[in-house]
């Protein structure tokens, strides 16, 4: 008897598993970026790749990986042979080709040789950090690429024929006008990527921009930001990009599966310094330092930071907090039976209140935020948290 039909059935019902690899190398530091990164050296990269292989060996891979995401840092900065080596480590955990394999690229370091290595490895999705087409703003962000480099890199990426291409853009940059931002969006749309991520500038601690903010050299203007959000959403809808999350838009079939699975509170394994995992009953992150990470991996230790047990209530809570950021919203009817002990009465009361204020909509078992509600997703999230920390539930 062939076991194939059973295997197929299993695959169809199997929960997705993501694999995130944090490649911590960047050529320079952007003023807005708080992700862990360091200067690439041949020795450093070699140790990193060894470490990834070592760390992967520590993971209990009882399920095959369904989506892969290489972020950073700048994964696209690795030499072709290093990319191939990293890919080999990853592929060994996938049990065949993953449904989606994303690699983040920076325009300044996109070469045909690298793209060929990625394509060869099985990468399906290229995500390029454009941020802006305006030279002055790029400079203000400390971004080390030119407008010409963006166009050249995009052409190369397209020529490599990945199944999906994304461009990252940033708005509400210091000094940026509404017209300038609209022009950036137009220019991106003209390139016809399959996916667009538009990120409102966030001032992260330990970044150069944060310093400027705390010195009062730049100012926050939530009203201006709200207007930019709204105009972006309108502009992209007209251009045929459907919004599926606060900052993400795609042509049909091009939404990022890896991220969707994250927001739906599925599981993923994170490898590399600072990488976060949600897997095998635990959530947490690796230490954000290459040497310390290597030392711990050497001792067989991973996911040592912010480590919490992954209870079904925590998952339900986060499925709401993060799910409500998505346009589709959350399927409550699916979460209720998975976590009957959650404080659903308080949650229902909150959702009804939000609906009453025009911030949320109920649709059968589903709940989603309206456009106005999505602009307040953090406030909504903190209220969800408050509902989950009601005394009756915690006790």
């Amino acid at each position: 008897m062939s076991g194939l039909p059973t295997e197929q059935a299993k695959a169809a019902t199997r929960a997705p598993l993501g694999l995130y690899v944090h490649v911590p190398f960047c050529a320079s530091t952007c003023d807005f970026c708080a992700f862990y990164q360091t200067q690439p050296t041949a020795v450093g990269v070699g140790r990193f790749l060894d470490g990834i292989a070592q760390e992967a060996a520590l993971v209990d891979w009882s399920e095959p990986v369904t989506t892969v995401f290489w972020g950073g840092g700048t994964p696209g900065l690795l030499a072709p042979r290093d990319l191939a080596r990293l890919a080999a480590t990853v592929r060994a955990r996938c049990g065949g080709a993953p449904q989606e394999w994303t690699v983040e690229l920076a325009p300044a370091s996109v070469t045909e040789a690298r793209l060929a290595a990625l394509k060869e490895a099985g990468v399906t999705r290229a995500s390029m950090g454009v941020q802006s087409f305006q030279p002055a703003l790029l400079e203000a962000l400390g971004r080390a690429h030119s407008r010409e480099q963006i166009y050249r890199a995009y052409d190369r990426v397209r020529a490599a024929e990945f199944a999906s291409v994304n461009l990252d853009l940033m708005f509400a940059l210091p000094g940026q006008t509404e017209a300038e931002w609209a022009a950036d969006v137009r220019e991106a749309v003209a390139l016809a990527p399959d996916h667009l991520s538009t990120y409102c500038l966030t001032f992260e601690e330990d970044t150069a921009l944060w310093v400027k903010l705390s010195q009062g050299r730049v100012k926050l203007d939530p009203e201006h930001e709200a207007r930019l959000y709204e105009s972006t959403w309108a502009q992209l809808a007209t251009a045929g990009y459907a919004q599926y999350e606060v900052s993400n838009f795609a042509h049909p079939g091009h939404a990022c599966l890896h991220n969707l699975n994250t927001w739906r509170m599925h599981e993923w394994v994170g490898l590399g310094p600072s990488a976060a995992s949600q897997h095998a009953g635990w959530r947490g992150a690796n230490v954000a330092d290459l040497d310390q990470w290597l030392a711990r991996i050497g001792r067989g230790e991973r996911v040592t930071e912010d480590r919490v047990a992954l209870t079904s209530a925590l998952r339900a809570e986060d499925a709401l907090i993060f799910g409500l950021r998505m346009n589709a919203g959350v399927d409550l009817s699916a979460w209720r039976p998975r976590c009957p002990e959650a404080p659903w009465t308080a949650v229902e009361a909150l959702l009804d209140r939000l609906a009453g204020d025009g911030l949320a909509q109920r649709d059968g078992g589903w709940v989603r935020l309206t456009d106005r509600g999505r602009l307040l997703a953090d406030s909504v999230g903190s209220e969800v948290m408050a509902a989950f920390s009601t005394e009756a539930f915690v006790a």
Partner: protein, 598 residues
């Protein structure tokens, strides 16, 4: 020492005219305090007093002074509280003396409190010794001071002594004048023992310690004493004098100033102004001037953190032990939870108590809008007292509301006259008459409703006069007034902490200002929130809290989950610290901001 060699006197002055420094020099001169233990401002022991340069509690001290006539005198110096809120305490301290040293700052001249204090001293029939202090200042204007002394206080200029507490000038002259001009103790021949209580102190080991001036007879440990206002008896445990530390002695005799420890445990049982006599042979008449002190200004005090309730309660209890004029009782507010209704002698008293709760007892508190005590006449002639707007009966039940007034003496530079008159008018006051103090200053005698001076009157006075204006007041009569209860509604729910009783003509302006302020202070909310002012259900002013437009972090990848949760958790905790009014979160300090700026 025979009573005829005793002199009981006090020093009275306007704030900052150098009373404490001069007191210290006198103690030094009589070697009452050894030089090495001398610290500046010896008599003021509370930190807050030192900081504000005012004396809140009276501290008497007994000194020995060998006068130029070759005799050795016992001088009892009474230190008096320096503010109008404590005028009854002042009057009792004065009643314990036969003389008063009236200090006038040579550079400032006679000011509002100088006049008020001099009048209090005259009323107690004290011999007043005028002292022009700070004569070493370059800005000293002796001629003017002496002229004011005669013109305003009707004291002959030749009686004045020139001194400087700071430079130690004139100290001996003052002491000689006390010996020569202040009469020896009065009423010593009264057949029974009588002692005037002019203050009291709570000691956790010994209970209530009464500060007394003996007028006649003797009191010693073991005696059964009696408080004449209530007839309450108590055994005397200890008597003593202030050297300036409390020093036990065998007995207190006529003319002495000292203390009595008995087995009374509650400060409220020994009232300032009461007469202590001996139970087995009691006096038939009390010493004159006793009255029940009643709080004039009330407000609600609430812990910012509701878990501090017990801590606040303990703090109030301890403050009450040493301050019989301060009263409190439990109350609850929908807006603020459980707290206390507190009564004070006046605004300064209120401020001091609040400050002490914060500092000495480390409890963060919210204070509601202060209120005076209104007399409300209801149908059928029933009169009730209302000190909390929340308790004001339904308008239908009210025949009329009467409010307390004050008679204020306001000293100002001539050129501020127009602005101050306008301020008085704005505060519903009238100027009764105007007196010229000197070429540059006038004194306005005004009648003002007490509730109008509760919050910012003094600040405005100081600001208009660039700090040169001063005010003193005494309580006047109750007057009928067109008063209404104004409520503030947040998202259609009345917030009791913001309710106030105001004059009908001022309701709209005040309501608008309050709404505007609240709309500005309450952080943007996720939904539309109206702030309204209403009288009897009718909206008279309205404003809107800003609607929150954007509160979302753009990027949210897998690694962000934990970090993002921390951020949201912080936001949630921040909200928890706010007070919830229905669905609206208001930061605790919003109340303070609103109540302060009004």
């Amino acid at each position: 020492m025979p009573a005829k060699l005793t002199r009981n006197f006090c020093i009275i002055a306007h704030v900052d005219h150098g009373k404490t420094t001069l007191s210290d020099r006198i103690l030094e001169h009589t070697n009452t305090v050894a030089m090495r233990v001398m610290t500046d401002q010896h008599l003021d022991s509370m930190d807050l007093e030192k900081e504000r340069g005012i004396t809140i509690k009276s501290h008497p001290v007994t000194m020995t002074y060998p006068a130029k006539d070759g005799k050795i005198y016992k001088l009892n110096l009474m230190d008096t509280p320096g503010h109008v809120d404590f005028s009854y305490e002042v009057s009792r301290s004065l009643a314990a003396c036969e003389g008063a040293v009236l200090l006038i700052d040579a550079a400032q001249g006679v000011e509002a409190q100088t006049v008020a204090n001099a009048h209090l001293a005259f009323a107690q029939k004290l011999k007043v010794i005028p002292v022009i202090n700070k004569i070493d200042l370059p800005s000293a204007n002796l001629e003017l001071c002496l002229k004011q002394l005669e013109d305003i206080l009707t004291i002959p200029a030749e009686e004045a002594i020139l001194a400087s507490g700071k430079a130690g000038i004139g100290i001996e002259d003052i002491l000689e004048a006390v010996v020569l001009r202040v009469p020896p103790p009065r009423w010593t021949e009264y057949p029974q023992a009588r002692a005037l209580v002019f203050d009291s102190l709570y000691d956790s080991y010994r209970g209530v310690i009464a500060y007394v001036r003996m007028f006649s007879g003797t009191i010693k440990a073991g005696d059964m004493m009696m408080l004449m206002s209530t007839g309450q008896r108590s055994e005397v445990k200890e008597v003593g004098v202030f050297m300036p530390k409390m020093t036990k002695i065998a007995s207190l005799g006529a003319g002495d100033v000292g203390y009595i420890v008995s087995n009374v445990k509650d400060t409220s049982e020994i009232k300032t102004g009461d007469t202590i006599t001996l139970a087995h042979k009691p006096a038939t008449e009390m010493l004159p001037g006793y009255k029940e002190v009643r709080p004039m200004v009330f407000c609600g005090l609430y812990p910012v953190d509701t878990s501090d309730y017990e801590k606040l309660k303990a703090a109030l209890g301890r403050l009450r032990l040493n301050d019989a004029a301060f009263v409190y009782s439990s109350e609850s507010s929908v807006a603020l939870g459980f707290g206390f209704r507190c009564g004070f002698l006046g605004l300064l008293h209120m401020e001091i108590i609040q400050e002490r709760i914060r500092r000495e007892h480390d409890v963060d508190i919210i204070s509601t809008y202060p209120s005076v005590v209104y007399h409300v006449i209801k149908h059928g002639g029933v009169q009730i007292e209302v000190d909390n707007p929340v308790n004001l009966p339904d308008p239908g039940e009210i025949v009329e509301i009467r409010e307390p007034t004050i008679k204020a003496a306001i000293h100002i530079p001539n050129d501020a006259m127009g602005d101050i008159m306008a301020l008085v008018m704005e505060k519903r006051g009238t100027v009764d008459h105007t007196d010229t103090l000197d070429a540059a200053r006038v004194m306005l005698t005004c009648i003002l409703p007490l509730n109008e001076i509760l919050v910012d009157f003094n600040d405005r006075l100081k600001s208009i006069t660039h700090g040169y204006g001063s005010m003193d007041y005494e309580l006047g009569e109750y007057r009928t007034s067109d008063l209404v209860k104004m409520e503030i509604l947040v998202n259609n729910d009345p917030v009791d902490a913001f309710a106030s009783i105001v004059h009908r003509d001022k309701a709209e302006g005040k309501g608008r200002a309050l709404c505007e302020k609240l709309a500005e202070i309450i952080p943007p909310q996720m939904f539309k929130v109206a702030i309204q002012a209403a009288i009897g259900g009718k909206i008279i002013a309205r404003d809107n809290v800003k609607e929150m437009r954007k509160d979302v972090t753009a990027k949210c990848y897998g690694g962000d989950i934990s970090r993002k949760r921390k951020l949201l958790d912080k936001q949630k905790e921040g909200k928890k610290k706010m007070k919830q009014f229905g669905r609206v979160s208001i930061p605790s300090d919003a109340f303070i901001k609103v109540l302060k700026t009004n």
